[in-house]
Symmetry: C2
Subunit: 386 residues, 2 copies
């Protein structure tokens, strides 16, 4: 075990560099997430090598990922998804299918295993709501129909992304067979259905009782407990822990405002989530830049990630007119947390190797960097016409 | 490394049992802290053995202790201590000297080393503000003079307790000599003086700049950074990490309300601090109850802990009249976080063995359990007379 002083020093360094580089990237109108990953690359073993080998760091990263997805879940009401409209639904589904198939086929073609291909496909699925929403909010057009379609679709494809992850994780743990795919899909859907139909009722009956407990912030404590419990259960039945955390948030989403749950989770998020992104960054294999074949693969995957969403989501939104369909398509391009989580899970369970992991991180960063200027260009026209 | 599912399961169990037993004890008008320690005893290796051996648990406990002391620091304004009045100051000092000497001498007499005797003495020093404040608040007499004297004195003896800890920690790391005692005392006082005189100014100049940063909650992030940094520095110069965390809080105390720092720290506290108390509980050696000599030592230490405060603080408050002096004396009896932290640091650096560690935990729990009913009895008379 490393000395506690060393561990505290690493904690300080990780948190400080994440916040510093995050701020720097935000000043250049980029996502703080990219700054945090780069902080991890810099602190990682290939550059400064300042993160210790203690197992505390990957575990803290995992706890960070759990609170990250819990927060996303808290903002995802079941009702909102149900009523988001046919367009968002179609956009989300087509936007999942195209990138998955592109990624899956390409990875198979360059001679990797089926499980690897499925992980890469899965990691290309989920749009990051945050970045597009941020650009739209900055431009003051978050209330337009295009924005609503994108946000609705992004939430839905988070859910689909997590279901795909649940399936892929289950598959990664053993031999592949159609029976197994079927069983794990059923398990994932059963878990979600159980929570939404029964888990919700149980929680809603417990909350008023717990609210009168003497323990300070008893409802928030119950929310944390619920998040930990579902993470354990999801992890135990071979779905990913974060799928459980996301569902815990989703089940509690309707109580979010009444009990200030997101607000209270915010400081846990603030403290713990940077560890997740920095540790993710520290796993990046920089030798990718010395291996032309791999660099080539990263570029192709990035292009497929862009074209997949443009085609899928653009087709899905064609009823809004061509230009709006184009905006929806580009708006859905940035990948973020969920893609990286899928890559990191694949890496940790040794279903993918560090080269493909790095390809995914490259793709996430590239799609995130490329989107804001394109969206700004497209929306400039919108505003000048209206 | 343990499997992540197992670690998450332990996290869930620790958090759940802490909250459950905490609630139970609060219902019996006791401190939640006792419930959390008992949760740790139950989950510990001698009973259910459900806490894994992963190093993540002691590290999480340490992070919990850091946020605990940071929160206490945030509520401790330098100005308040300066103006708290001569009575509180005298009460605090005498209330530190008597228990320390009693504990120190008794441990020497029963044939332990000087370092052990100093750790036990140090662990007997600091009153837990929380329990007395809670009883007084419940009885609606928190605004009386007696209450103000006690609260002021309790804050001061936290500070003194941490200085004593700083010195004792430094001593525990090597051979004992008067030169070394002098050097470490100077180091501790120098560190504190530097922070209060210079650190405060630096922070106060940085805060307005940081407040305009793009990073969400930038001031709170800076506060966390400052807390981590001072913990590392304190740990590095052989003071305890928590001394740094406490001082970080104290330096920021005046900005606490403006920037909502305590409020924002609350959920970190809620999530992380239970790990500290549960892990402390899991280190308790239950064989104490089969060893008459040790049980005897625990009783004697507890009695000295009570008499030391009664005598020291009672004498210091004699100018308030005999009955109020008695109330002040009893009000200062409960020990809490700081005493247990000192014991756990001693255990971890192998300055004390698990038998004396358990004696301290016994003393903390006994003084905490015994005080509320006595205070209620004494205050009943106060209220019926006024």
């Amino acid at each position: 075990m490393e000395n506690i002083t060393q561990i505290l020093f690493s904690l300080f360094l990780i948190y400080a560099s994440a916040k510093l580089l995050g701020e720097l990237f935000e000043r250049f109108k980029q996502s703080a997430l990219i700054g945090e990953i780069i902080a991890g690359v810099l602190l990682g073993p290939q550059v400064l090598n300042l993160i210790g080998t203690s197992e505390i760091f990957p575990v803290l990263a995992q706890i960070g990922a759990i609170f990250l997805l819990f927060t996303v879940g808290l903002q995802t009401k079941v009702e909102d998804i149900m009523t988001v409209g046919r367009t968002s639904l179609v956009v989300a589904f087509l936007g999942v299918i195209f990138p998955f198939i592109f990624g899956y086929l390409y990875i198979l073609i360059i001679n990797h295993s089926t499980v690897e291909a499925m992980f890469i496909g899965a990691a290309m699925v989920a749009t990051s709501v945050g970045i597009t929403a941020r650009v739209f909010a900055d431009l003051g057009i978050i209330e337009t129909k295009v924005a609503r379609v994108i946000l609705g679709a992004a939430v839905i494809d988070d859910v689909i992304g997590l279901v795909v992850l649940a399936i892929v994780t289950g598959l990664g743990k053993g031999a592949l067979s159609f029976v197994k795919i079927g069983l794990i899909t059923l398990e994932a859907i059963g878990f979600i259905a159980f929570l939404i139909l029964i888990g919700r009722r149980v929680v809603y009956r417990m909350i008023p009782r717990v609210a009168s407990f003497r323990t300070r912030d008893a409802v928030f404590s119950l929310a944390i407990l619920f998040c930990l419990l579902l993470s354990v259960v999801a992890s135990y039945i071979d779905l990913a822990a974060i799928v459980g955390a996301f569902l815990a948030g989703m089940v509690l989403a309707e109580l979010n405002i009444e009990f200030n749950l997101s607000v209270k989770t915010e400081s846990l998020y603030n403290f713990l989530v940077p560890f997740f992104f920095v540790i993710l960054g520290s796993w990046v294999d920089l030798t990718i830049f010395t291996r032309p074949a791999l660099l080539w693969a990263a570029l192709v995957i990035t292009i497929f990630a862009v074209i997949g969403k443009l085609l899928g989501c653009g087709l899905g939104a064609l009823n809004l007119g061509k230009r709006d369909a184009l905006m929806v398509g580009f708006g859905m391009v940035p990948r973020g947390e969920v893609g990286m989580i899928i890559a990191s899970i694949g890496l940790n369970m040794k279903a993918i190797r560090s080269d493909l992991y790095t390809v995914i991180i490259f793709m996430v960063m590239a799609t995130t960097l490329v989107t804001p200027p394109i969206l700004r260009g497209l929306t400039k026209n919108v505003r000048s016409e209206t």
